[in-house]
Symmetry: C2
Subunit: 514 residues, 2 copies
Amino acid sequence: MSVLTGKHLIDGQWCAQSCESFSAYAPQMDEFISPQFHSAGATEVNLAVQAAERGFDVIRQLSDHCRSELLTSIAQQLEHIRAPLVARCVQETGLSTARINGEIERTKKQLLHFASLLMEGTWRRACSASSDVTSHPDLHLSSVPLGPVVVFSASNFPLAFSVAGGDTASALAAGCSVIVKAHPAHPGTSEMVADCILSALKHLDIPPCVFSLLQSKDHEAGVALVTNPAVKAVGFTGSIQGGRALFDIASQRPEPIPFFGELGSTNPVFVFDSTFANGVDTFAQAFLSSMTQGAGQFCTSPGILVLQKSEHLDTLLTSLAAVIPLQAKQTMLSPHICSAYRRATRQRQSRSELNTLAVGRVAENAQSQAHIALFSVSAQDYLSNPELEHEVFGPSTLIVICQDFAEQLVVAKSLRGHLASSVFSGSDSEDRQQVAQLVDALSLKVGRLVFNGFATGVEISPAMQHGGPYPSSTMAATTSVGSRAIERFMRPVCFQSMPVDYLPVVLTSATADQ
Amino acid sequence: MSVLTGKHLIDGQWCAQSCESFSAYAPQMDEFISPQFHSAGATEVNLAVQAAERGFDVIRQLSDHCRSELLTSIAQQLEHIRAPLVARCVQETGLSTARINGEIERTKKQLLHFASLLMEGTWRRACSASSDVTSHPDLHLSSVPLGPVVVFSASNFPLAFSVAGGDTASALAAGCSVIVKAHPAHPGTSEMVADCILSALKHLDIPPCVFSLLQSKDHEAGVALVTNPAVKAVGFTGSIQGGRALFDIASQRPEPIPFFGELGSTNPVFVFDSTFANGVDTFAQAFLSSMTQGAGQFCTSPGILVLQKSEHLDTLLTSLAAVIPLQAKQTMLSPHICSAYRRATRQRQSRSELNTLAVGRVAENAQSQAHIALFSVSAQDYLSNPELEHEVFGPSTLIVICQDFAEQLVVAKSLRGHLASSVFSGSDSEDRQQVAQLVDALSLKVGRLVFNGFATGVEISPAMQHGGPYPSSTMAATTSVGSRAIERFMRPVCFQSMPVDYLPVVLTSATADQ
């Protein structure tokens, strides 16, 4: 594909019916860019769902090997268009070329991870119990895919949590057809990646009804997709507000469906004073790097630092104020996100309980340029204002200053759910018991706990967990990153006294693997 | 305990505050029996939840070995009171002595199953990924229990799906504290079993806040429990109407919580004509036995038979009409359930699309005595009246008569979710390909598929799945019977670069098992 069509991909065809359209915005250039993208209406939603119903019957009957090849082929297609993809994606997101190249690597790695997983066989969690002398029946537990899945892609990961991202890769791996509702902040990137998936399907002679892409700038298409009775599960990465609205719709359907939403998270970082035994600089640098990475637009950004009052703390605050790159360009993903960030930080600046430690300057007329903002608050004031725990999406952190460890522990126990949390402590410290207590308390609040490190950077691994208690995700028992992400899109079925000839092909092959 | 108190068990104390009360009803004797049971109000609910919050901090820190001992001890306590327990339970439910003795066996087996599982270590699904040369961090995936769990016990399994039933056993095993909302149809049984749990806790010196029992005859206590912010998950076995109402409340909380509801199921049975190659008698007997077992009050009762028109079918219908035990006493669990059953079957008798093949006689003034009722309908009429798929709880089955296999397949594909389904076919049949097609279609509709057998009787096994698509359950990816039931009450946590000293004790021991 050399020229963007601005259309939807439905059943292998680039098509558009509705007249409504929108354009991508280039944050670095502060202007809209061509082409126009059509916004999906009811007709396109229905066509995509009908295709996905046929597509489900196709993909669920493909062998594990064939679905593995599909994922591998998508990864290859992404590599083929790397140069133009990076160019368009950088334009649409304002993220750096290095970051987008890294994200292509990550997206490929995710696809190949599930491609390998499919060849292992254990992902199905099959399990057998043979009949025995006490006349128990022969049981064979395997799994089936759920049905057509809708994926809402994220604004902040235009590739890795988008059209061919983790949700799509794991849903296809599980044997589900997929409809992606693209994020309107990067429609060109989305079209290019959808075309990669189409090429991979064609290359392997798989009917293209398995995958569709809908472009839309407003909420109607998304609501229509989640409401449609043929849709059986939803993957979502985005804001608490948007995610909760769709979760409610999914739960209130006549047939409720699982909604796997990764929503907001502030990822509190708890620091013991022993961390600074050899000075504050190492920590200060690592913190600033994590806080400002991608303009703070990571779901795992450190939004809260919880420290104890000490002379080291004073040094740290002075050091941070000195080295914070106040003039550094912080380009946000869209004017919409940037104005929400500006509103939130302005509000924090005006609050009497908060000290503004540092705040960058930025030309107000640059619609996507954000300022770094660092605040502090006493633990007491923090605890009496629960809204201070909420995420401020962007390069801003709130430092919570505690009188002692006991107060740090109170803060930890007061938390609602987060994706991740960190604990920093000096290796030769005497606070061993306190660290253990804090780790225990935090394990009940988050999906991932990092020691002496920040949570930004999520490994693709069988041992990863990306999803914590609400509101950080809507299904804390599932993960959107790592091997178990595939389990979101399947469910167990027990075959009792069933002759092997009558097991579906995909299950017979799974049996063979066990 | 020799005399029933009629009170709630909260934090080790038998107590009651509200003035409202109710009595158990003895269906066989058709009368209310003593004592009076108090109905829990807001005060008792709050006290129970406060105890459960403390109890969660107790039980989650117990070793796997200690929780295993607790489950074993509960099973022993049940055995100690077997004789009075059976007597009271038979009185309250109208079920037979043999059935209740069997249910005690099953309940003990479930408790001991989880007691063994805890000693295996694999139940936590722990998994590690070591750091390597490419600088990936050290990851350790383990799990934590969710928090206080509320269990709504079932009317139809007064022991196995009740106070110390599968939900309670698996929640305690996972490390959650439990509040049981007892079913008002068997309050005495519930009190006796709760006392067993209290004895086991005392025996092992575990603080009794780990488990509470609330009695209540109305909905308020249940709603208050599900609404309480400290409650983190719910297990439920009961009707679609009641379950859906509580599911909605759980989903609409500010912090939504998982609601594991096992609701209604009709468990359609598909029969190929080859089944009758050696006559219809074997099948007819097995079917009648499954249909009338426990007065048809099993969640896995065969509510729908889907057959093809043939001479064998005529013979089968004649045979069924001849051998059906029309005078057999079918005592239902409560006047409430019985009147709902009578209403539903009367309505079926009056429908012009349905043929009444057989209907038993019963004294209308015997409030809990039900009549066996067998109906038939053409597949065409069945397909145009979707409400015919709904469960009629009791000893009634609808026979759907298809023109051919194609119509049987249409019926299969039209189904909503069920717990189980069966396929019958003669072993030397030529319908191999059709059976495979049907099994494939049904695997998308149910949690368990039985070949040449009925679904009544659910094995406790690692390979069991008891939970199908909605409305048969609210979380089709989970099971309420078998090893994986424990997974409902835990969630994964990833520990990144975490020194082993800082892992919580329960996780260190899990690590050792891997």
